[in-house]
Symmetry: D2
């Protein structure tokens, strides 16, 4: 049993707390959150002890591994503190709001033999992971074109968007990591931003985007984003190779289909909340983190993966704002 401490007691901390509690090889021992009520509430639900100090949790001798669910600005310092305390760290994405901060972290981690995993949960989605396996085992052949459709069920309020860092860092960041999962390092980025939603007109941010990424071999990944989708959380992936095309479809709550005089085989709307849609992915992500610890190896994706997704997001923002193709 690996003893886990969670920094943060917000929504995503609750997800991780549940995953840890349900996991046969892990147990949740400590929670920290500067908001006392939040920390104590989650502690009570899980039977863990709590503190308002992240430092206290990090240095708690009983805590063997740390999951960071604090706000983004705290990530790099807490990762570094965790590593210095000799503890494996799983940190929610993004690593930071800008790549310079991550470079600084990478530099600080040099020589410390860090075990740090970034929470790009979608790599662990059973369907996306299976497509990756089908590439690895040769079923797909040489990957030529990756197509990602990623649309949120409904736009967040303008206030959220104002502090989100923009659509590319806030939303597409997941898709950039997914593109890297299949293409590796990206060499060029071109992004077209859209302003179609009147409610978001004044935010200055895009509410839709088409981004095409290329790697050195000429493989492309095309990402289609929207802040809204009438049918739910639209999360699809297609990988086209010279031997096969593989697709992951959306997830629905049941397998029921209805046929009437006006429409046939009509199915449920998609699951429309990211925590439900990616529930299995969060659980499989924790598996990988714990397995890496147990086996004494480095987990993946790591801080560098986090930084590279951020670099693509910055390039996409530049491309969309200037109308140029950006080379990395």
């Amino acid at each position: 049993m690996i003893k886990i401490g969670i920094i943060g007691a917000g929504r995503i901390a609750h997800v991780h707390a549940r995953s840890v509690s349900a996991h046969p090889n892990a147990t949740l021992v400590a929670i920290s959150d500067p908001v006392e009520r939040a920390a104590s509430a989650l502690a009570q639900q899980t039977g863990a002890r709590w503190t308002t100090s992240a430092d206290e949790l990090i240095s708690d001798p009983e805590v063997e591994a740390i999951i960071i669910c604090s706000p983004t600005p705290f990530h790099t310092e807490q990762i570094l503190a965790g590593v210095k305390a000799g503890k494996p760290v799983l940190c929610e994405k993004p690593v930071a709001m800008d790549t310079d901060t991550v470079y600084q972290l990478e530099k600080n981690l040099e020589g410390l033999d860090p075990t740090v995993m970034m929470g790009f949960n979608r790599r662990f989605d059973p369907s996306f992971a299976k497509i990756h396996d089908l590439v690895d085992d040769g079923t797909v052949g040489k990957v030529e074109q990756v197509t990602i459709i990623s649309r949120d069920p409904a736009a967040p309020p303008p206030e959220y968007i104002a502090t989100s860092g923009g659509i590319f860092k806030d939303m597409t960041i997941h898709d950039f990591d997914m593109a890297r999962f299949f293409l590796g390092d990206i060499t060029s980025v071109v992004a077209i931003g859209q302003n179609l939603d009147p409610a978001l007109k004044d935010t200055g941010d895009f509410d839709g985007a088409i981004i095409t990424l290329t790697n050195a071999e000429g493989t492309t990944a095309t990402i289609t984003n929207s802040r809204h989708c009438s049918s739910g959380y639209d999360q699809r992936l297609e990988v086209f190779g010279d031997r096969a095309t593989v697709n992951a479809d959306n997830i629905r709550p049941t397998t029921v289909s209805v046929s009437t005089g006006t429409a046939t085989a009509a199915k449920d709307p998609y699951l429309d909340f990211f925590l439900t849609r990616y529930e299995a992915a969060y659980s499989a992500e924790l598996d990988e983190f714990l397995a890496a610890i147990t086996q004494g190896r480095k987990p993946s994706p790591d801080v560098t993966d986090g930084r590279k997704a951020l670099e693509i997001a910055e390039a996409a923002e530049t491309s969309a704002r200037t109308g140029t193709i950006v080379h990395l």
Copy 2:
């Protein structure tokens, strides 16, 4: 080019006339129908000559092969006349309204080396035929359970039903032949009839039925029939074997699907007219008839297949009326 004469100028004769006209190896030369206006109209459309006498058409020296589309009571005598004239015959199903009449025909045909094909067009439907191929090539393994769903889009008027011979001879007859296509000879029949449609209450006929057929090896075929289906013409087939399960789904006019906030992936209603639904089957049926003639072999299915489907229909009627399992 094989020169074809068609007996009858009704709806199904029009279908065959079009198939013959479009076929690269056949040409339509003559039409007969006692109703002068019907015969001349179809003749004009196709460029064939016409007559009100079936006998005249049968003995027409230019006519090399005959397609019989007359009312059922005329089938057996016209088949016999065609065979005696030395001509291959394709006859619409059913052979007759009762099995005794067919036995008599079979007896009369003995020694005449007849080339007679019965128009069980569904055997030639590309999807059903492909499933048969998948059985033949071993993909399915040993066939264990055949499931046929066969529902008409809408019930015919009570007047039609009054002279139809009953649901089993009028509608299920196709499904009985389909069951024989996969099971061969049937040894037991149990049928449950339904009277659910108030509009058909007074006809004395069933408007729905569940029939289970068995062959000597214990393979089953289960047929579900209804005179109506809100989504169109519901024609599905599943063959379950010990190596694979294979299905044929309904046919829709387009491949479009619509996803909204209340339903996703909703498709078109099914094609709802049997001539449209089985258009490709009628065409492939003619191919087989012409190929058999050209290659000097017997076409399939034949008169005996027609009689055996009729025997099952009679057994089903008995089973549904008496509440017993009928052994053949």
Copy 3:
């Protein structure tokens, strides 16, 4: 928090123990199993206390509700004891191996105001439950024909079958309850049994079956069973009404489909273990049990539902053995 005791510590007890542990409104306090090692192992995993005596658990004052997971022969006496102790009971199906025993139980329960729920978990499967909702809300219209395909992934060993009570009580019992879920009381049963699997030839039991049930209104339910299915656990339901046809498809581990030069849109095999396939159903079943307790109402399905499914199973056995339609 409702405090639960579980009688039995076998495979299905583990499923219920997990559901109870994960449930926000229930807590597992006690386990009983005559096999000391089994009882203590499950107790250790869950933090509950244990005993080898079911009676002790039933009379334990802290235990507020009981889940019976013992072998079938113990069900009726434990249900009765639980009810007499004033405790709500959720009992795994079947109630007993024969209907006489259940009649006796029903008689003994008279006047005791029992709260007993039978664990027909499939009624709580999200897809099947949704279809029931679509009937209730009028989407389907008048139900005319129910089609149930229910095939196990692989046959159990002959030794299991020898003591199973036969395919109708052991396997089809679930489908009989599903039929009753939509048709209510059944008035006639006709069953065709199959002996196709050489490995099961000597068991004297059927390894496949086609059963058609009818209710007083003439609605039919057709069940197709097999002890094996190459693609996994094949569990489908179609309800055909005069306004709509609704289907529940099989469940697969991912939404991935693969398209190559020989096949397109090929999906995963089905989940092939009943506990995984019906995981959500077991959880929803517990919800209903707890909700009924909290709301002070009777849960459904109850002992009478259990007895009626058993009656149909006995009628099916008679029908298949004698080749007759059995009226209830």
Copy 4:
């Protein structure tokens, strides 16, 4: 009956000849082709007369409407000649190999009241046309993102590519017209070209491409092209609007699906020949041409549509070669 003359006797002329022959309101009276053998062969098959001179066909007083199937360099002069002869013209795409030539034609047609339709057959594909209807009737809501996947089954020989005008004019031209069908005039184009197929390396042409088009309202159309696809002719369309997302899937020869122990619901590969895939579209295109003639209105799409698709192709070539976004 409208009397039709066809200029050209190659592969696509055969398609149109068949459509005209099968059409109830048209009859084929004349064929022209400088290759005598080609002209006479098609004439013999169809019963039309033939000539080696396109001018002779155009001026033939019996010819009421003209279908141009000659090589592209002849299109503009033959369109002009047909219009000057007072005859409606249906011309295969592209209008010309460059936009200057089309501008010249448009100028020459001014004041002549021309009835000229360009053969962008895909607009008439039943599935794509239905999606257009679903936009028109408001089902889709405001169109925001159009996604076109368009892959050929197999690359043509390098010799063909050498004279094809490049992938954008030869292949994507259809997709550009489809994008215009939904977006109207395009204001910006960005294209990423791929060179992945070793066999085509020396042609200097791209063998894959990702193109994103935008109109003045900010609606996008993203086109993914490849010269090859292992599963057949991959032709899909998705239109995402604020009320619904609608998709057109590929077309398969049957509705059969196969489920085994390794894959379930596996379907046929797609139709892999464009004439078979778009057979219904060619026929519906002729319907529109004849209907426009009969109703005395202008058919659509017209020469200007042809020129605008060509302009996008030229912009795409520039974008892909220079790595810039091109504004129109």
